[in-house]
Amino acid sequence: MGQAIYNILVFPGLFFLILFGWAAEFIDRKIYARGQKRVGPPWYQPVADFIKLAAKEDIVPEEASATSFKLMPLIAMASAVTAFFYIPLWTTEALFSFYGDIIVVMYLLTIPTLTFFLGGWYSRSLYSTIGAMRTLTQLFAYEVPLFVVILASALLANTWSLSEITKFYALHPHLWIFNLLGFGIGIIALLGKLEKGPFDIPEAETEIVAGSFTEYGGRLLAFFRLTLDIEVIVGASLLAAVFLPFGLNLTPAIGFVIYIIKVLFIVILLAVLRTILARFRIDQMLDFCWRYLAPLAFIQILINLLVKGLLLR
């Protein structure tokens, strides 16, 4: 019992997740800044931001429905953290696992996005509402390709559990190569999920101020930001587990290092992508996802079916 609580709250649970999330935010901002020839923020920046926000006054807009408005950040965080427990990190075993957890994780990862939408919706300010709409529209655009590519990988492993998937790839160490296309699509979809440039459409500063978060300030905003940081880690861990399943059966220490490297690699990839691309327009985003991403994702399924048919007997 004590072990489980320790696992959930400290390691590899909440505490670890928050620290790692902050580290990732710092790395993301630093790379972004350095790519732009700037020095960028100091290493403690995400922590300082959080403390500052947490110590600020909370303002709930008069128009908004207070309970829902305040509840959203907590729901978002809770679901992101829960999802994390089902993802195998540096071993082939997740903290929790059952047959079909892949679906649960995907659902849990959708919830933060929905809370962004609802939070914006309940703020009842114009910019928030438009931001909320865009959040939702975007959700429908990237979610399908993301789902499909993860499914493709699961298909090859012939299981519905993330832990089983990693076990499968640990047994067939070179098969993950076939999933590279899926990995690319996953990265792009993850950009959309995390609302990072070039898909930061729902928070486009120059158009709708800060989108859903426009009316959030103080502690509530701090939690939203923390959720986003955590989501980066969870999303990256998910992609790492599904598409980069190597180095798992080593000693925990080495496995841990490899895991950290994998996640950071994805974080850096995301940062570079957001540095070099201009923001899409919402209709261009929809177009792009449906016209290119989704078909490519289905091609990934085809590839995996072929591989399954030809290589695995």
Partner: protein, 144 residues
């Protein structure tokens, strides 16, 4: 208690998010504020982020002498900012009205409308002067 207060103060001085509001400036101060965020000066070194929403901001950077039209907008934006908040007057206009003092459509300076925490003279206040002011303001926060 003392420790928590110290930590909070530390967080505040390391993460001042700013909102920039043109209160009738000539643009020069505004572009210098933006210039202070770009690679040569990079205010993000001090944790400064430019935010669009008053709800996210800790510091309101005002440039310009406050025209009659903008006065109550300015107050409204200030009210929307969560405590603790600070107003910084960027440029001579914002400090006192500058060359425009005496024109019929302006107030003379931000402090006619809002309490001002720091004044940055200069026409325009150069990016270095802005950084200088930020550092001075943060230092005073740390000490208080």
């Amino acid at each position: 208690m003392g420790l928590i207060k110290k930590i909070v103060t530390w967080g505040r001085t390391k993460s001042p998010w700013v909102l920039h509001f043109n209160t009738g400036a000539c643009n020069a101060c505004d572009i210098e504020i933006i210039a202070a965020l770009t690679p040569r000066y990079d205010l993000e070194r001090f944790g400064v982020l430019l935010k669009g929403s008053p709800r996210h901001a800790d510091v309101l950077l005002c440039s310009g002498p406050v025209t009659r039209q903008i006065g109550d907008r300015l107050k409204r934006i200030y009210d929307q900012m969560p405590e603790p908040k600070f107003v910084v007057a960027v440029g001579t206009c914002a400090c006192s009205g500058g060359v425009f003092k005496g024109c019929y459509n302006i107030e003379s300076g931000i402090d006619q409308v809002l309490p001002v925490a720091a004044y940055i003279p200069g026409c325009p206040a150069s990016p270095k002067a802005i950084i200088d002011a930020v550092v001075k303001l943060l230092k005073s926060l740390e000490e208080s």
